[in-house]
Symmetry: C2
Subunit: 300 residues, 2 copies
């Protein structure tokens, strides 16, 4: 039975960066998350795909021990997303999003998933996020993400849903937008008031920040000289963080700090190649090496 | 005799932020730098001001042990700068810059200054920076800054001058602009190839990065919830860094790491008030407290 359940999109992405391009590449939040998480813990996916999804995609996940029982395959096309990056890869320029069958995503968790310990609920419609949370039996740790589209559309529902999560995991722009302040410290304070014990704000190349009552942690990113395609870096950060946490059993602030560094390390590998190309080939030894490097670059 | 010499502007700033405004406030690179540096080491200023500069400005500096012998006062008006910040204070919106007498800045260092050990050469015309460096007798540590205006106008001269410095201290946008790459790792590598042993890239609220041959350090910023006016934060970062380094005698990579944290701490105080208002009232005890806090927020 999987320890970590990821609820989120499966997609076929078309990406162009100054270093090349890929077409209909197997991706999406649940895919990047689970590939990263499965490096540490048994992971299951809750998602939806169209009949154009291929057998090789499922067997790729299954070979990594990822449970695909929670993926509904329905008539129609899988979510398709295309974007390009200019030389400064901090911003994705979206060309097109065809939600396709993902528009019908209405997750019903398999019975055994409901008993899992750790849940990642990706940036889907907050109403669906609430529905998922209501299906959980006795979760130890629920992590919730969101995105600008939903903040604009359903801010109130997001804030309500956040109350039911243990960790709100968002990026810096989402934090500013969601809490109406440019100051991340203030935004995080507001977020903690809602109910979650922890807030993590991802800042891409600038690292990530952890906030909890009375404590604060600033994690750097891994210094990358070769950045090929940042797509999926944020989701694989979340996956590694949660996979490592689930493996280490109890969640504490001190363990979350370490988990964030594992997140940064795995995200750095993701960005070194297109799609999953680099991520799928790394070993725990590769990860450990970069983890130790980050230890050195933060020491004073 | 001062241990640290700061070459840069003296100005009278008019600043507006969502939290208030000040008019003709005593400021400029050399002022913020020296007030911060004087917390740790004897500091002297090389600059130019007009006859509208007031006695109280000099006595303020002198009371802090800052040597003003290197400040030329000439007929005319002092540099005047005005800008405003919107609620997101990451960007200063410049309204007006009247260089006034600063346009005639042609520094001739007092004899005793030339024998000092540590020099900070602010973001002035790179030709003037070279002239200053040529006046130094046996400097131990020369730090050079620059700004977008000069990168656009005199890129080649900046690169030539950087060769003669020990540390290039610039912000992230300047690094990207100067070395024509969005990747800070690559930019720093190019900078090191020029000759300086160290490169520090300041990233404001995201901290700062140190690069040297074979080593790398990522320093966080101090988490500020009350940001009133960021003017001078970068210059006081440089001042604290160099003042602390000069006090600790020899410059090593390990000491630079600590110096960067002192820089971050002092910059955080600067941004908590308009102009010098907060910076001028802090004690070494206040600084040490935040230094220890940063130790805690980076530990994993």
């Amino acid at each position: 039975m999987p320890d970590v359940i990821a609820v989120g999109s499966i997609g076929l992405d078309t990406i162009k960066t100054p270093f090349g391009s890929v077409k209909d590449e197997f991706s999406g939040t649940a895919v990047f998350f689970s590939v990263a998480s499965s490096l540490f813990s048994q992971t299951g996916i809750v998602s939806i795909a169209g009949t154009d999804i291929q057998k090789k995609h499922f067997s790729f996940l299954n070979k990594r021990g990822i449970c695909t029982k929670g993926i509904q395959v329905v008539k129609g096309k899988t979510l398709r997303f295309s974007c390009y990056y200019e030389y400064d890869m901090n911003e994705a320029h979206v060309l097109k999003t065809d939600v396709n069958v993902f528009g019908k995503f209405n997750p019903v968790l398999p019975e055994e998933y409901r008993k899992a310990r750790h849940f990642f609920i990706g940036a889907v419609n907050p109403k669906i996020q609430t529905k998922v949370i209501n299906q959980l039996e006795d979760p130890e740790f629920v992590v919730m993400d969101t995105k600008p589209f939903w903040i604009e559309k359903s801010r109130k529902t997001i804030l309500d849903t956040a109350k039911k999560s243990n960790l709100l995991l968002i990026n810096e722009w989402e934090a500013r937008q969601l809490f109406g302040t440019p100051n991340l410290q203030k935004a995080a304070k507001e977020a903690l008031k809602l109910g979650p014990e922890y807030v993590i704000i991802k800042k891409g190349e600038h690292g990530s920040l952890l906030f909890t009552d009375g404590a604060y942690f600033s994690a750097p990113s891994y210094p990358l000289e070769t950045l090929i395609d940042p797509t999926g870096a944020g989701d694989s950060y979340a996956g590694a963080l949660m996979g490592w946490l689930a493996k280490s059993r109890t969640v504490t602030e001190s363990k979350l700090r370490k988990a964030m560094i594992y997140g940064a390390v795995v995200a750095s590998f993701t960005a070194e190649g297109f799609g999953l190309s680099r991520l799928k080939s790394i070993t725990l030894k590769d990860i450990e090496r970069r983890y130790q490097e980050i230890k050195k670059i933060t020491c004073f």
